[in-house]
Each structure stands twice: as C-alpha cells, then as structure tokens.
C-alpha cells in the first residue's frame, strides 16, 4: 500500500508538470524559498533586519541612490560611493599643539556629481578643524571651523551641510547675476556647483568638471589629551547597491531580501488560515440551513462590521503588537471574506441530487460536508487565497505606516509605504516603488499560478481522457 501512495504522488506530479502556469508558480515559489534560506549570505548589510530603522547604521550610504546597473544604460555615469579610511596623515607639532593634515586626492571622471561627501573624524578632547576643497581648476572652497569637543566624539562634516554658503559664493562669481540673485544658498545644488565647470549656468545646469579634486582637512589638537583616533573620508555616489537606496539611505536590496520571509509568512499564513476557516464556515452555514445558518450569519455580520483599525489601536496602546499578533488579528478578521460567496455556492451544491443520494446512503453530515461539498469549492478557495496574499501583505504595510506595525521587522509593504509617504511617485524615484510592488505582485502570482494548476488537476471536468 505504501507503494500506492508514492505512485499517487508521482502521478500527481506527472499531471502537475503538464500545466505550464503551475510550473511557473512552483518555480517562483522555489526562488522565494531559496531567498529566505540564503538570506544570511545574500544580505550585503548583515544587520539590515535588526537595524532597519537605525539611521546610524545607514549613514554611509547615499540617499536616494540609483541601482548600480543604471550605469550600464546611461551615457553619463553616476559615481559610485567610495570610502577612504585612514588617509595619509602629516603631523606637525608645536609645543602641545599638534596639527594633523590630511589631503585626499579624489579622481573624478563620472558624468554626475557625487550626492554628498564628508569626513568622519573620531576625536577625543579639544580640537579645531579646517576644511579645504580644491578643484582641478584651482578654485578653492574653504571652511574654518572651531570645534570644542570633550570626550570621544564622531564628527561628521558633510559637504552639503557645511559648504553650502561657500559654494554659493563660488558659483555667484561665474553665474549670470540675475540668476544668481534669484537663488539663495539653500536652493542651489551644492554638489553640482562644487563639481561643476566654472561658467555661466553653474547654478542651473552645471557641466561636470573632471579631474583630480583634493580634500584637505587640518585637525589641530589643542592639548595633550586630545586624540585623533580615526579618520574616514566618504564620497557618496549616485548609485549604490543592486536596487539603490531609499530616502533614509537604506539599501533596498536588503529590504527586498529581508522582506521575502515576512511576505511569504504573512501571505501564506493569513490567506491559508482565513480562507480555510471562511470556506468551512460558509459551507456549514449553507448546508445546515435553518437556525444554525441564521446564527452563523449573525455572527458573521457582527465580525464583519467590527472595524479592525480601532482594535489594533487599542491593542497597541496596551502592548506592542508583534508580527505574529498582527497575523493572528488578520486571520480573525479576514476569514469573513469568502463566507458570503461560499455560502451561496453551498446552497446551490446542496440542491444537487448527489447530496441527496449521499444522504440516502446514510452519509453523516461530516462526510457530506468534507467529501462532497468542500471539494467543489477548492477552485474558489485557491482563487481566494491567491487574492488574499497581496491583500494581507499590503494590510500589514498600511498598519505599519500608522505606527501600529511591528517595528522589529522589515517588510515589502513597509518599504512601499515609506516610498509613497515620501512622495517617491511624484519625484520619479522609480527604484523605490517598482521593486517592492513587483515583488508583491510576483508573490501573488506565485500562489495564483499554483492555484490554477491545482484546479486543473483537481477539476475532473477539465480532464479529457
């Protein structure tokens, strides 16, 4: 008999193989499962899961950077991010005052300016810092800054933040006076000016100035305790990562990988549980009729009219809901979806003679329900599940937006929500919107295709023999 069971599986697989869409579905599912399994190795940023919302973790990434492969398609390249650790130091000591000079040459040949660049200085004690930006054409942009630091600190000097006024001064010398007057320092593209050719139009459409730029920084350590522990020079490019970065500098490829497992989990669990419960409930209501049906209908209507949102708000006031509780809540409220349709289908099925024939044979209610009625609803169940999957994912995303989600996880829905709330659509930041959207759609497609294939196999009317 065991052989029979395996041969049954083999037969099932033979049949399943014949349905092309089913194979695509299985293929996609295998891909998703592989992603989940290989996540530890696939993540470029190992702690993306835990530290998704920690801005310090993502500091060194550019904001809204395009995916790296964009450079293959554009004539003008976007520069990649570079980190130069521990540039050469020259130290000059005069009594207790030590001056450390670091000059970093930066070879620039891209078609677009970097999105930002900055120094990271790990200091202890008091120090004074001077920054000089030397362009290939000789122009210099200076910043003198005196910083009293006490205790260990990490100082970030961002070009955009600190050199804005100076960049404006530089550009104003070359730009058309009327144009220059109409802009103020806050409105200009700082990096574009710093890396742009000194000519008219430097504020509006700067042409790139190629060549070797020098970033010179001088740190004056005031007393003996002062230390320059570490220095890093970071240039943030226009492209980063396989899917680019979002407005909070987070690598979107990490978001995609990390979100896969939650998408699978949320989608599968919620749709499975809610559809199974809903179908059985609807079939039972339709089959039994009478007061049982009436009672079940009333319960259904009550659950249907309970608004999920206030409940979640109340819950989050009491305790922090984890993703499991959210899934549980979704199951509790989503099962009502298929009930109405399933109930009317059950009412129709009940009228068929074979149900009566089964009763005449002495079949128990359980047998009629589960052997005769529920199997008729499998195609509808699969369709329901396929539709429920994206719905569940997006629902989780929506509640994450209003702060009721699980802050410890990363999900595609959350990424998508962040995109919309940051106005990604209006700004044309396609790499933030399309990948998570496509991913959600693919997930839904996976289950839809598998469902269609299952239906083809399980529905004998489609068999032609």
């Amino acid at each position: 008999m065991k052989g029979a069971r395996f041969s049954g599986l083999r037969r099932f697989w033979d049949e399943y193989r014949q349905v092309k869409s089913g194979l695509i579905g299985i293929g996609l599912l295998v891909v998703f499962i592989l992603i989940v399994l290989l996540e530890p190795v696939a993540l470029p940023y190992r702690q993306a899961n835990e530290r998704w919302r920690d801005i310090n973790y993502w500091q060194d990434s550019p904001r809204l950077a395009l995916p790296v492969w964009v450079n293959w398609f554009t004539s003008k390249d976007y520069p990649r991010s570079t980190v130069i650790s521990e540039p050469k130091r020259e130290e000059v000591a005069t009594g207790t005052l030590r001056v450390i000079t670091m000059e970093v040459p930066y070879e620039f040949t891209s078609g677009h300016p970097p999105s930002d660049m900055y120094y990271k200085l790990y200091l202890t004690g008091r120090a004074s810092i001077a920054f000089e930006f030397i362009r290939p054409d000789g122009e210099k942009v200076e910043l003198r800054r005196s910083t009293a630091v006490d205790g260990a600190q990490i100082l970030r000097l961002s070009a955009i933040e600190t050199l804005q006024e100076r960049a404006y001064a530089l550009g104003a010398r070359y730009e058309d006076p009327t144009v220059a007057k109409s802009r103020n320092p806050r409105m200009i593209d700082t990096m574009g000016v710093l890396f742009g050719q000194a000519a008219k139009g430097i504020f509006t459409k700067p042409a790139i100035l190629d060549g070797t730029y020098r970033m010179k920084i001088q740190v004056a350590l005031v007393n003996e305790q002062s230390q320059l522990n570490k220095a890093e020079f970071v240039v943030l490019g226009g492209v980063s990562g396989i899917l680019g970065t979002d407005g909070d500098r987070r690598d979107l490829w990490c978001g995609f990988i990390a979100g896969t497992k939650w998408a699978l989990l949320i989608g599968l669990l919620t749709s499975l549980i809610s559809v199974v419960v809903g179908v059985v409930y609807g079939v039972a209501a339709g089959y039994f009729g009478g007061w049982i049906d009436a009672l079940m209908n009333r319960i259904f209507e009550v659950v249907l009219s309970i608004p999920l949102l206030p409940i979640l708000i109340v819950m989050s006031a009491v305790f922090n809901p984890s993703i499991w509780i959210i899934i549980a809540m979704m199951c509790i409220f989503f099962w009502v979806g298929p009930v109405k349709t399933v109930r009317s289908m059950a009412l129709q099925i009940k009228e068929h003679s074979y149900i009566e024939a089964a009763k005449a044979l002495g079949a128990s209610h359980r047998r009629i329900l589960f052997r005769h009625m529920v199997p008729q609803l499998i195609p509808y169940s699969f369709a329901s599940m396929a539709l429920a999957v994206p719905g569940a994912i997006l629902f989780e995303a929506s509640i994450s937006l209003i702060g009721l989600g699980d802050p410890t996880i990363v999900s595609w829905g959350q990424v998508l929500r962040d995109a919309f709330s940051s106005g990604a659509v209006l700004q044309g930041i396609w790499w933030w919107i399309i990948p998570p959207g496509v991913a959600i759609a693919l997930m839904g497609m996976t289950f839809a295709f598998i469902g269609f294939a299952m239906d083809t196999i399980l529905n004998p009317k489609l068999k032609t023999r």
Binding site: S353, Y354, A357, A360, L361, G362, P460, K461, R465
Partner: protein, 356 residues
C-alpha cells in the same frame, strides 16, 4: 410466496409554509399537503408503480419510504417492523434495506468522484467488508452485474465520461452495493435516450429476478409504467385515487382522473389524429396548500355531482381482483361511460366554489 415487504398506512407529509406576520398573530398556519394519507401494501418481488403528474406527491412518497423526509403522520412498515420514526442504528439498517435510483443520472453522482469512489462510498459509510480487498472484489462483481465490463475500464472514469445509459447503470450499481431489498426508482429512464431505455429497464428486470428485489417505480410516463410495472397506483394531489394490476387500471380505468390521464397519452400509431382531442378534464391543478373539500378532484371532474364536494372524501374501494378506486360514482361511470358526465344544465347551477 408473496408476503408484503413494504406497507404504508395513511402516510402523510405536510410541509409548513412560511407565515406572514398577520398569520402568525392570528395563529394560522398553512401547510403544503404534499402526501395526504397514502396507503398501500407492496409484496416481495413486486414492481409497484406510482404514477401521476407533477405535484401529485409521488416523488415525496418515494422519499418518505427512503426516510429522506420525516413522516408527519401515518405509519410505514418494512418487513413487518414499524420504521416510522426510527433513528440511529435502526435507521442505518433501514438505509441498507431501501435504496434509490435518481432521475438525473448526471447530477446524482458527484462529478469529482470516479466510479470507484461512487461505489466505494456506501461500503465505507456502513463499514461493509473486512478490508479493502473484499470491497474491491464486491465492487467488481456488482459492476459485472450491471454489465459495465470490463470493470477496470469503468472504475477510473468520472460521470461525465460515461453515456447516459452507462451512468444510470453505475447509479444502479451504487444502490446494489448494500444488498437492499427495496429499490425506489424515481424516473430512472426519463432522461435517457429512447433507444437505451429498454436496455436499462431490461437490466433492472433481470436484477430483480436474480436478486429478488422489490421496486417502487415512480414516473409520470404511463406507457413505460405499463411495460415495466406489475401493479400501479395513480396519485392526485397527495392521495391515491386508483390502484391495481397495471393492465386493469389502464384498460379498465374507473376514476375520472385516470381516464383523463389515459386520454391524454399519445400512441405511436397512425390514424390517431384528434384522438386526444377531448381530454376529459377541465381547469388546472389547485395549489397543494388549498386542497378542495370533499373529493379533491371534483373541481376538474366532468362527472362531479354535489355529493362529491359536500360529503366526506371518498376512500379506496375494492371493485374486484385487487382493483381499487376512490370515487363515489365509479359504478355509474362504469355502466354508463361518457353518458355519466354531468353538465350545468342537467343539474341546475349548483357548482362548487372551487371550480375555475
């Protein structure tokens, strides 16, 4: 040896009708009197026909025999035992004794089941046979009985892969799985092609002889009933109006309703134009919620006299040779034939308020 196997005494089935608010407050209740006091006695090995138009209660009677519906009143005896209100184990036993062949051979089998699933189901429900082997053997045996051979070819098919005749054979096989004594056949051949009908009926006859079955054959087709049935009961609005050996009931029908039915049937003979010109009946069938008083056929009867609606409903009377009629004027009709018809002129204008 003929002993009665199935006896019905005053079998009644009334269905409640949903009440309007005014009716509830007034404490009124309307009933659909689908089967309104039916009595018969069927012998072992007999083919008993129940004939009538739609709404006469013949199918409902069949379901009462099957105990698919609860009996409102009256008694039902199976093999001498009172099975009117049985439950549980006794009911399960009754199910094994009485089985049903349904009218539509397609929808009477789950389209997702294979023939094997369909036939195995009764065995699984009643736990027949010690193991799977025994059941397989039994299934194959029955398939051979109904001439669906080779069995292996048919076991794997689904209902829609079978022809109408084959489906009905499979349905018959299903009824035989539990070795019943009585089979209720509800219009088993009406949805099958003419050229295959006789084949199915002949199979049913053969099974009856071999297995000693008793049939209750429910139909609206008098001609097929004549061919297949031993005894016939004609039903109208929930009651039997005439009953007896099939040849006698058809050739020497006494009840006006039976006469009307017989007069309305077409025959495949030439020269019959205008044969059914005047069907001896008038009006339409009344609703089963509003059954006429007295003889329930009186509003449509061409022979009705005031006694028919003023007096109590006539009961079945034996007129010899097992032929029973429920009509107070049956002797008159027999003797004077069509001349016994009444008309308004001959009786003044006393008409029943129920006439259309």
């Amino acid at each position: 040896m003929t002993e009665p196997i199935l006896v019905a005494e005053n079998l009644t089935k009334w269905f409640p009708v949903k009440r309007t608010l005014t009716q509830i407050t007034r404490g009124e209740r309307t009933w659909v009197r689908a089967v309104d006091g039916v009595s018969f006695s069927i012998n072992k090995g007999e083919i008993f026909g129940l004939v009538g138009e739609s709404g006469c209660g013949k199918t409902t009677t069949g379901k009462l025999i099957m105990k698919l519906l609860d009996i409102t009143d009256g008694r039902l005896y199976m093999k001498g035992e009172d099975v009117t209100h049985i439950q549980g184990a006794a009911l399960a036993k009754h199910r094994r004794e009485v089985q049903m062949i349904f009218q539509d051979p397609y929808s009477s089998m789950n389209p997702r089941f294979t023939v094997r699933d369909v036939l195995m189901e009764p065995l699984e429900i009643h736990k027949v046979g010690q193991n799977l082997q025994e059941r397989e053997v039994w299934v194959r045996e029955i398939l051979n009985e109904v001439k669906l051979s080779p069995p292996d070819e048919f076991l794997v098919r689904h209902p829609h892969m079978l022809s109408g005749g084959q489906r009905q054979r499979a349905a018959t096989a299903r009824t035989l799985m539990l070795s019943p004594s009585v089979i209720v056949a509800d219009e088993p051949v009406s949805m099958i092609d003419l050229s295959t009908r006789a084949e199915i009926l002949s199979m049913m006859r053969q099974l009856q002889r071999e297995l000693g079955l008793t049939y209750v054959y429910v139909t609206h087709d008098l001609s097929t009933a004549r061919y297949f049935v031993d005894r016939l009961a004609v039903m109208y609005l929930g009651k039997i109006v005439e009953m007896g050996p099939v040849g006698v009931v058809i050739d020497r029908c006494l009840h006006p309703y039976t006469q009307a039915l017989i007069g309305a049937v077409c025959e495949p003979k030439s020269g019959r134009v205008n044969q059914i010109k005047d069907v001896p009946i008038k009006g339409e069938i009344p609703a089963a919620t509003n059954i006429p008083p007295g003889c329930r056929f009186h509003p449509r009867c061409l022979f009705s006299v005031p006694e028919c609606w003023e007096e109590v409903e006539p009961t079945l009377v034996d007129v010899g040779g097992g032929h029973m009629v429920a009509c107070r004027r049956h002797e008159d009709i027999e003797k004077r034939g069509a001349a016994a018809r009444t008309s308004d002129a001959s009786l003044g204008v006393r008409r029943s308020s129920f006439e259309a």
